[in-house]
């Protein structure tokens, strides 16, 4: 067995602790992600999915608990450039062209010029933006901007991909195509993916495991293994097991949201 890539132990995240408006964003999170796992996080808005991603990526420090990534601290993993992150918003640099935006991590990681150009070219082909290489972000639609952000995160083949609703702004066709492309890249590289989505179908289609969360405080309420055969393709969607799993996730979500109320009732 390989070592787990992500280990979260008893992680708590409280924003503005002690203040009247403190938010208990994550509570007692225990999570283990193996090498080559494709994990989807799903849960109601505000339940702490983005926060969990940011804890794993060492962009915020948890109030308590431990995050271990590739056998080291999250901070060390970040300094070792183990992460590729796609935020909920595209977060492109206005003063860089599309190609230059994709190149940003490659520049920071001191890739050679030819290698930078080669990878940028390949990534732009992947997200079908070759014709827009010289455009500036404001000249792109929201979905196109998000595709640039995806190309940027994939360009340096990070060992862990943290993706926060990367396809939320895309139309159904592009979304399904990019789902397949993402799976392709995931299979070809040794990447481990932590993926946030609001779409049950997308979560089931992509993942090896779906983690269901509930809100206030954000905690993990279900961990569903997706035992659909690999590689996933168009046929996967018509698999009977696909519908069963979709129903299972939907049910878990319903319980997690309903459970919140029943938690309050006895008090």
């Amino acid at each position: 067995m390989t070592k787990p890539v992500v280990v979260l132990e008893n992680v708590d995240m409280i924003f503005g602790e002690g203040a009247a408006d403190q938010v208990h964003a994550l509570k007692e999170i225990d999570l283990q992600i193996e090498q080559n796992d494709f994990i989807s996080l799903i849960g109601p808005s505000g339940c702490g999915k983005s926060t969990l991603l940011r804890v794993v990526g060492d962009l915020i420090q948890p109030t308590s608990g431990m995050a271990t990534i590739n056998g080291k601290s999250a901070r060390q993993a970040r300094l070792d450039q183990d992460y590729g992150i796609v935020f909920q918003a595209a977060t492109l640099y206005d003063w860089r062209t599309v190609a230059k935006n994709v190149q940003l991590p490659l520049e920071l990681m001191h890739f050679s010029r030819t290698e930078r150009d080669r990878r940028t070219q390949a990534m732009l082909e992947l997200v079908e933006l070759t014709d827009f290489a010289a455009h500036y972000p404001w000249q792109l639609s929201g979905g196109m901007q998000q595709r640039v952000a995806i190309a940027r995160a994939l360009s340096f083949e990070p060992s862990i991909l943290l993706m926060d609703e990367p396809f939320g702004a895309l139309d159904e066709m592009t979304r399904e195509r990019l789902n397949l492309e993402l799976l392709n890249i995931w299979r070809k590289t040794n990447t481990t993916v932590l993926f946030v989505t609001h779409s049950i179908t997308e979560a089931v289609f992509l993942s090896t495991r779906v983690i269901v969360m509930s809100a206030r405080p954000g905690r993990i309420t279900a961990d569903i293994a997706i035992d659909l055969p690999q590689p996933r393709n168009a046929e996967t969607r018509s698999n009977v097991r696909f519908f069963e799993l979709e129903t299972e996730v939907r049910e878990a979500l319903r319980i997690s949201e309903g459970g919140q109320e029943s938690n309050r009732a006895p008090a």
Partner: protein, 315 residues
């Protein structure tokens, strides 16, 4: 395209209408020239036409000469060295030469005004360069070491609230009244604050997600500075420069009101006004305005070159 053409023509039309109204009103109400000279007599100070021989008028002269100091001379008769020497002196006077009555119908001040403007422009640009360097340097330093921000900001605000009228004579004493550096120092102090505060805002107000992206790549502080903060600060640096460009000419001219060499624009304006040559003073002020506008346009142009990505320049 047609929209941008309209953007140019609208102000020009308004200007033309205003100038005509001005001319008409001053004439109609017979307003004294020390209160408000006519635009035509202001323009007369900038138009290089000297007519010799009282009877001559433009068009029916025997000769039309363009001389190397910019005068266009219309004269009937010979251009002798004596005539030439007298013309150099001539501004408003009538004079006689070689038994002929010669009158200067319209003496131009363009040459002295341009010379003075050039002198003052150099002061303004020198001050702008120093003020911009100082402002950007302090902004960079306070971004790098945030402790310096708290320490330096009160001084920057104090420098900004210093009345320039009190400060100008002091600089004249420090550097010497004829030394252009005294005026550059005044301009430097005037523009330091707008440059510094605008640059600082751009350096600091970086989108938190953009910063997180840099952190996720483990970028160093200097990489964050060069690849994120400085590009992010350029638009606000240019806003600062536009304010500074307008202030620079004002600062230099105000400095010269408290004394300066005779060739300085501020000194020229004060002297002409003291001699009741108001149209000439107004002509100098007009040129100062035009220079101010030119500085602004140059900054605008540089901004377009430097920030091709900026959404303001959407085609």
């Amino acid at each position: 395209m047609s929209e941008s053409r309209q953007r140019i023509w609208a102000p020009i039309m308004i200007l033309v209408v205003l100038v005509f109204l001005w001319e008409a009103l001053v004439t109609a109400f017979n307003i004294q020239q020390f209160l408000l000279p006519k635009p035509s007599s202001i323009a007369g100070n900038l138009v290089q036409v000297v007519v010799l021989d009282g009877s001559a008028s433009r068009g029916d002269s025997d000769a039309e000469l363009s001389l190397d100091n910019g005068f266009i001379v219309l004269l009937s008769g010979e251009l002798t060295p004596e005539v030439w020497a007298t013309m150099q002196e001539a501004r408003w006077l009538e004079f006689g030469l070689g038994g002929r009555s010669v009158s200067v119908l319209r003496g131009s001040n363009l040459t002295p005004i341009l010379a003075a403007s050039w002198f003052t422009l150099k002061e303004a640009l020198g001050g702008m360069a120093m003020g911009t360097l100082a402002g950007v340097a302090v902004a960079l330093a306070t971004t790098r070491w945030s402790a310096t921000r708290e320490a330096l900001l009160p001084f920057a605000i104090a420098a900004n609230s210093m009345p320039i009228i009190a400060f100008a004579p002091i600089m004249n004493n420090w550097f010497g009244i004829d030394n252009p550096f005294s005026k550059m120092a005044i301009v430097t102090v005037m523009i330091f604050f707008p440059i510094m505060i605008n640059t600082l805002r751009g350096l600091i107000s970086v989108d938190s997600r953009s910063l997180e992206l840099m952190h996720s790549y483990a970028a160093s502080d200097s990489e964050i500075l060069f690849k994120l903060r400085i590009p992010n600060a350029l638009p606000s640096l240019f806003s600062g420069l536009k304010v500074a460009g307008a202030l620079a000419m004002i600062g230099a001219i105000v400095g010269e009101y408290f004394g300066g060499p005779r060739i300085a624009l501020g000194v020229f304006i004060t002297q002409e006004a003291a001699l009741f040559r108001f149209a000439s003073a107004w002509a100098a002020i007009l040129v100062a305005c035009l220079i101010g506008i030119t500085i602004y346009l140059v900054i605008l142009f540089a901004e377009r070159l430097a920030l091709p990505w900026h959404p303001t320049f959407r085609a």
